[in-house]
Amino acid sequence: MDSNKKYWKGLEELNQTPAFVKGSKSEFAESIPVEDVLNEAGLSTKTPRRDFLKALGFGLGAVTLAACNRTPIHKAVPYVIKPEEITPGIPNYYASSFNGQSVIVRTREGRPISLEANRNSIGLNQGTDATTTASVLDLYDMSKLHNPQIGHKDVEWSALDATVIAALNKATASAKQITIVSNTVNSPTTLASIAQLAAKYPTTNHVQVDAVSYSGIIEANRTSFGKAVVPSYHFGNAQVVVSVAADFLGSWLAGEEHTQDFIRNRDHKTLKSGKMSRHIQFESGLSMTGSNADVRIAIKPSEEGAVLISLYNAITGANLSGGVTANKKAATAIQLTAKELQSNQRNAVVVSGSNDVNVQTLVNAINSALGAYGSIIDLDNYSKQYQGSDAAFQQFIANANAGQVGVAFFLNSNPVYDYYKSEDVKNALAKVEFTLSFSDRADETATTLKAIAPTSNFLESWGDASSKEGYFTVVQPTINPVFNTRQAEQSLLIWAGNTSSIYDFVKQNWEATILAGTGKDWKQVLQTGFIYKGTNSGSFYTFNGDVQSAASAVTALDKSIAGEVELRLYESTGMRDGRYANNAYLQELPDPISKVTWGNYAAINPKFAEQIGVGENGVVKVEANGYSVELPALLQPGQAMGTVSIAVGYGRYLVGKAGNNVGENAFPFAKLVNGTVQFSSKATIEKVAGTYELAQTQTHHTIEGRNIIRETSFAKYLQDPNSESGRFSDTHKTYDLWNKFESPGHKWVMAIDLNACTGCGSCIVACNVENNIPVVGRDEVRRRREMHWLRIDRYYTIQDVNEQNEVVGYTEEKKIKHLQDFESVTVVHQPMLCQHCDHAPCETVCPVLATVHSSEGLNHMAYNRCFGTRYCANNCPYKVRRFNWFNYWNDSRFDNYLNNEFTQLVLNPDVTTRSRGVMEKCSMCIQRIQAGKLQAKIENRKLKDGDVTMACQAACSANAIIFGDANDPESEVAKALRNERVYYVLEEINVQPNIGYMTKVRNTFEA
C-alpha cells in the first residue's frame, strides 16, 4: 500500500481540528451528564435522607401503579367481505410506473409499502433512484389537501365542476385562451384527456415548462438535425465519456438509466475481461458524476464554452477563436482528452449540462465529428422526459398580461416557486379570470389561484407514461384515494363532458393506440407493466448547424458570466427541483458529496473561503441577477476557485410539515439568456455575521484514518489484478481466540464493488423504507444521531498531477496543507453497513447477549433484549450501530412526518419499530431472508440464488451490491468474492467481516 496516501472524510479530519479530534474519540457526540446528576443537583450531600426516601417511595409507588394496569385489549377486526386476492400477512405486487420507470409496488393488506424497479422491463432501468423509492411516503403525506377548494374553502366536487365548467364556457364565449400549464407530460392518457378538453373548448392550449429546463438541447437539435427532441444516451457503448458540467449519473436527464448503462462498462465483470471506459469531467462544483470521474478538471462556469471550443478545434482541426487560454491545467487536459476522443471514434461522446442553445449546438458538432450519433446518442428512440419549452411559458405570461387568457390550469407545475421571476408569474396570473391548480397540496402556486382540484397520488391513479419513444408503462392504482381527491385526467374528462371513468378511458386509449399490433391485451399489460415497441432503426443524421456563429455566441455568453465570482446552480440528487421537498426520507438523505442533510448551502473552495475570510459554520451572502440570499458556507474540496454552487429545490414555504422553510430558494438566481433559463451567472459573495451549523453527516462515525480504502489505476490493474488490494490474509497467519462459527446451511455474504458505486444514496432510502428507519430531523443529525443503517462514506484524496495531467503519485500528508488550491481532489464512495463479522467485537461486549451470531453468518440484534448500554456501538470498528435516543415515531418533538396513525401505514409490518433506548443496525434484511427460506420450504425445494434480495441491492442501478449465499459456489456473490480485487475492510484486526469490497479502479492518465 502507498503509505503516504491519505484519505479523509472532511476538512475537519484533514486539519485535525480540536473539535473533530475530541469528537472522534467518543462514540457519541454528547455524553450523558451522569457526573452532574451525581455531584450537584442529584444525590450529593445537599439531598437529605428524607428527600431520598420520598423519591424512593414515590418511585416504588409509581412503578407498582404502572404495573397494575390492565392488559390493554387489542381488537382484531377481519374484513366484512375479504377481497379474493388478499391474504392478510402476504404481500401483493402490482406493476405500475413512477416518472416513466416501470416499477413493482408491494402492498400489504391493501396498502402500498414499497416500490422496486420492474426487473423484467426491457430497456428501462433495473434500479431505482432515491426519489422513486421514497415516493411511497408521499402517499401517506398528511400535508395533502383532503378536499377540493375554491377560494381556500373546502367544497364538493360537484360545486367545483360547476364553477370550472362555467369559467370554461365563459372563456370560450369570449374567445379567450384556456391554457393548461404543466411540466413535461409524456403520458398518452393525460395528453388524450387534454385533447378531449381542447375538442370541447377550441381555445385550449397546452404549455409545458420544466423547472429545470432542457429546452437548449431541444432547440439545438432542431437547428442541428431538424429534430426537436432530447436524445437518449447509451453510455454503455462509450469508451470515452467527456462531460462538461453535466451530472449525467445524477440529476441530468435520466441519471439512473445512465448509471446502469455507464457502470456496465466499468464493473467487476467488465474489468475481469480487461476493459474499462474512461470518464473525464470538466466542472466547477464537485458533482456526484464528477466525483466518479477518472479525471476531473475544475473550471469556472465561464470556461465551459471555451473548453468545448478548444475540444472542437482539437478534434476537427478547426480554428475557432475563444478556446481555453488562461487555465493551463485545463488546456493540457483538453489536448489529452481530444487525443482520447479521436482515437475512439464512434465510441466517444461529449455531453454538456448547459441549457444554452449555442453551447449545445457546439456539443452536437463535436459529437457529430466523433460519430457518436447512432452508437451512443440516439435521436430515434429519443427521451420524452423533458419537453418543456421556456419560450412557450414566456408567451403564456405575455398572453396573460395582455388579458388574452381566460382560464389557466396548473398540472404538476409550481411556477410561483420554481420560475426565476416569481413576481411576474403572480402578476400575470392575477389578470387571468379563472385559475386552478391540480396540486395535491396548497402549494406556493395553488394558494395564489382561485381553485384547487387536488389530484390523486400516482399510487391511487390510473394512467400511463412514455418516457422514451417506443416505451410505454402503465400506472395502476394500488389503493383507493385516501382523501377526497380526483385524478387530474378524470377532472379534465368531466369538464370536457366525457362521462367515461378514467379506467375505461385509459383502457380504451391503450387498446386503440398503443396495444394495436403488439399482440398483447390490456390484462397482460397490467401484469407486465410495460410495452416495448422495439427500437426504431438508426436513421442517419447529418449536422446542419452553424458552428461558427454558435462559437461566437458561446464566447459572448462566457464573457457575460465571467467575473471574479461565478455562481452555478445545480439540482441535488435527493431534492431535485423541489417537487419532493416534503419527503422526509429525501430531506435526510445526505448529499452524495457534501453529506449535508436538511438544507442547501453555498459551496466554495476552502482556499477561496480563506481568501474571503469565511471559516467552518460561516454564513455568506450571495448576490446575483438582482437577487441575494444568505446561506451557510460549505467548504467544498474540489470546487473551482472563485465559484460558488447552490442547489435549487430548497426554500419551499408551502409544501408541508417536513419541507417548509428548509434551506433557501435558489431559483431566482436563474436568468433568461438566448431564450432559455440558465443556471450560471456572475455573482458577488461576502461574509456576513453569524454562524450556522449544517446538519452534515460527513465526519460522523469516523474510522480514524485507518486504511480502509483500496484504490488502484486501470493500468496497474491490467498488470496485476491484485494491485493495491492489500489483502492481509495473503501475508499473515491469523490465530483465533474463539471457536470457529460454523455455517452449515447458508452463509449470507455481500460483495460491494467500489468501482460501480456512484454514491447516489438510493440504497439508503430503500433501506429506510424497508426497515422502518426513522427520520430524526436536522437537530438530531447535528448531534450525530442519524439512524441510517447504511451510509455511504465519501473519502477525498489529492493526487499529484504533472503538467501533462498524468498522475505521478499522491500528495503526501504534510504537503497537503501547503497546496495552492483544493481543486484536484479525487473521491471514493464506500457504502458502509454492518459487516456481520464472524468475530464480531460487538457481540463479546454485550452484557445481556442482545447481539449474537447466527448459524447463517449473520450478526443478530434482538431489540427486546437490548437495554442500551451502547457498549456494542463503542466497540464496533466500523461504526455502524445506531442508538434510538427517542421514540421517533411517537414523540411530538419529532413531528415531521411519522407522528400520526395515517403516515404510520407506510411502515413495513414485518419489521419491528424500535423503541427508545435500544440499539439497532443492518439486519441484512433478515425478514426477506426468512421469507425467502419459508417460501422454499413451503414449495418443498432448495433455495435458489436470487430468491432473496436485499432492499439496497434491489435499488442499486449500478449493481454495486451483490448479495447471496457463500455456501453455494455457483451463486453470483460467491463468484464475485473470488475476484482478485476483493478485500475486507479492517481485515487485519481479524474480526472476519462477511462483506467483501472490490478495489476502486481509476482509469487515469498514467505517467
Binding site: 382484531a76 377481519p78 420450504k937
Partner: protein, 428 residues
C-alpha cells in the same frame, strides 16, 4: 349461620342439577326407528328442510296430516317422477316452490323413509310440548351443557363433609360451654394465672429473640427470601395471559363448529396454511353456511341472536335475502397477543413443520369460548423448538443435512439444531 345457609343453598342447587341431568339423560331414550330416522334426517334432509319452518323446502310439521304415508314415501323417493306422472298434489308443491326440484333418494328403503317420517312426527310432538310448557326444556339444556359433572359431584361431597364438620364442631362447642358454666370460678382463677404466665413467657421469648442477633438475622433473611421468591414468581407471570378468555362480541362456539360439526380449521382460518396470520374469517365466510343455518331450533324458531349479529355486520336482511350498503366489521377481541418484537409465522409451523393446531391452541374443538391455552412465553417456544424434530424430507434441507456434521451421525434433528433458537429467527 350465614355460611351454613349459603352452603346449604349450594347443596340444594347441586342436587337439583344432578336430578335434572338424570332427567335429561332419561328423556333422550326413544324408539329405535325414530333414532334411525333422526340420523338419516340429519344427514340428508337438513340442508333444505326444517320441521318447524320453511327453509328451502316446506316446513315438515303436519305433513302426515296433509299427505298419506304412501304418498310421502314415493314423493321422498323420487318427487320428479310423481310430477311427471301428473300427481296433482306433487305438481302443486312443485309450482309453489318455483319449480325447485327436490333431490331424489332412490337409495332409501321404504322402512328407512318411514323411519324418517316417524322422526318428523316425534319432533312435531316435542315441538307441541315445548310450546305448551315454555322454559321446560331450558333447565335440561343448562344441566346437560355443563361439562364438569365430576366437579359437581366433588362439590357435593365437599359440602356434605363440611356440613358434618360444622355440626360436630357445634356439638363440641356446646359441651365445652356447659363445662365452662359449671367451673366458672375455678376457670377465672386459672385464667388470671395463665395470663400472667403467658405474658411473662412471651416477653421473655421476645427478649431472648431480640438478643439473639443470629436468629433475628436468620428470620429477616427468611422473610426476605420468602418475599423474593413470591416476587420472582409474580414477576415472571406479568404479561403471561395463560387462560385469558375475553368476552367476544359474538358468542361463537368452536365446540359446535370444530367439535360437533367437524369443520376443518382451514375452512375459516385459511391464512394459517399460507401466511403468518391465521386470520379471522371475514363475515362472508360465515355466510357460506349461515345463509341457511340459522340455529332456529334452539331459539324457538327465531333466528339465533348470535347469527343475527353476522347479518347485522353484513347489513343482510334474512327475509328479503338482500345485502345493504352499511356493513360494519365485527370487532373481535384478540386473545393471543404476541408482542410486536416477536415474529411468528403460522404457515412455517402448520405447513412446513406439520404442527397440529391443538398443539398450541389446546382442545379448541371442545372450547365453548376460546381461551389462551398456552403461555406464549419465550420459554414455551424454545422448549418446543428443542424437542420438535424437523421434517428432513423437505427438499429445502437437502444441502443443510449433508453439510451438518452432527446430523451425519444420525442424531435427532430438532428445530433448535437448525438455528431455531437464534434470536434473529423470531426477533427482527
Amino acid at each position: 349461620m350465614r355460611n351454613i345457609s349459603s352452603v346449604l343453598g349450594r347443596f340444594t342447587k347441586g342436587i337439583t342439577l344432578s336430578f335434572l341431568m338424570l332427567f335429561a339423560i332419561h328423556s333422550t331414550s326413544q324408539a329405535q326407528d325414530v333414532k334411525e330416522g333422526e340420523t338419516l334426517f340429519k344427514a340428508n334432509c337438513t340442508t333444505c328442510h326444517k320441521v318447524d319452518r320453511k327453509v328451502t323446502g316446506p316446513a315438515l310439521a303436519g305433513m302426515s296430516e296433509r299427505h298419506s304415508e304412501e304418498w310421502l314415501v314415493s314423493w321422498i323417493r323420487n318427487s320428479q317422477a310423481m310430477i311427471k306422472a301428473g300427481d296433482p298434489a306433487a305438481v302443486a308443491i312443485y309450482e309453489e316452490y318455483n319449480k325447485l326440484a327436490m333431490t331424489a333418494f332412490t337409495q332409501f328403503s321404504d322402512d328407512q323413509i318411514k323411519n324418517i317420517i316417524a322422526y318428523v312426527k316425534a319432533e312435531e310432538v316435542k315441538l307441541a310440548e315445548k310450546a305448551n310448557t315454555p322454559g321446560g326444556g331450558e333447565a335440561g339444556a343448562t344441566g346437560s351443557s355443563d361439562a364438569n359433572t365430576w366437579m359437581i359431584v366433588g362439590l357435593i361431597g365437599l359440602v356434605v363433609v363440611t356440613v358434618l364438620v360444622i355440626v360436630i364442631l357445634n356439638r363440641v362447642i356446646r359441651s365445652l360451654e356447659n363445662v365452662i358454666l359449671n367451673n366458672q370460678a375455678a376457670i377465672l382463677e386459672a385464667e388470671a394465672k395463665n395470663e400472667e404466665y403467658t405474658e411473662n413467657k412471651f416477653a421473655k421469648f421476645a427478649k431472648a429473640f431480640v438478643k439473639n442477633k443470629k436468629l433475628v438475622g436468620f428470620a429477616v433473611l427468611m422473610l426476605v427470601a420468602l418475599l423474593a421468591v413470591g416476587g420472582w414468581k409474580t414477576m415472571w407471570n406479568i404479561g403471561v395471559h395463560e387462560g385469558y378468555q375475553p368476552v367476544q362480541p359474538i358468542k361463537f362456539s368452536h365446540q359446535i363448529h370444530a367439535g360437533v360439526n367437524q369443520i376443518e380449521c382451514q375452512y375459516c382460518h385459511g391464512g394459517a396454511f399460507k401466511s403468518k396470520n391465521a386470520s379471522i374469517p371475514s363475515a362472508n365466510v360465515c355466510m357460506n353456511c349461515h345463509n341457511t343455518v340459522t340455529a332456529a331450533d334452539h331459539y324457538d324458531g327465531e333466528l339465533s341472536p348470535e347469527i343475527a349479529k353476522i347479518y347485522r355486520a353484513l347489513d343482510y336482511n334474512p327475509d328479503t335475502k338482500e345485502y345493504g350498503n352499511n356493513p360494519k366489521p365485527i370487532e373481535w377481541v384478540r386473545i393471543h397477543n404476541l408482542p410486536d418484537f416477536a415474529y411468528f409465522n403460522h404457515s412455517q409451523h402448520v405447513v412446513v413443520a406439520g404442527v397440529e393446531c391443538q398443539t398450541c391452541h389446546g382442545p379448541i374443538e371442545n372450547m365453548e369460548e376460546v381461551y389462551q391455552y398456552s403461555p406464549l412465553t419465550m420459554k414455551w417456544c424454545v422448549d418446543c423448538h428443542k424437542e420438535t424434530e424437523v421434517n428432513v424430507d423437505n427438499k429445502y434441507y437437502d444441502d443443510l443435512i449433508a453439510a451438518h456434521e452432527k446430523l451425519k451421525k444420525g442424531e435427532k434433528v430438532t428445530a433448535a439444531m437448525m438455528g431455531g433458537l437464534e434470536c434473529g429467527k423470531c426477533h427482527y
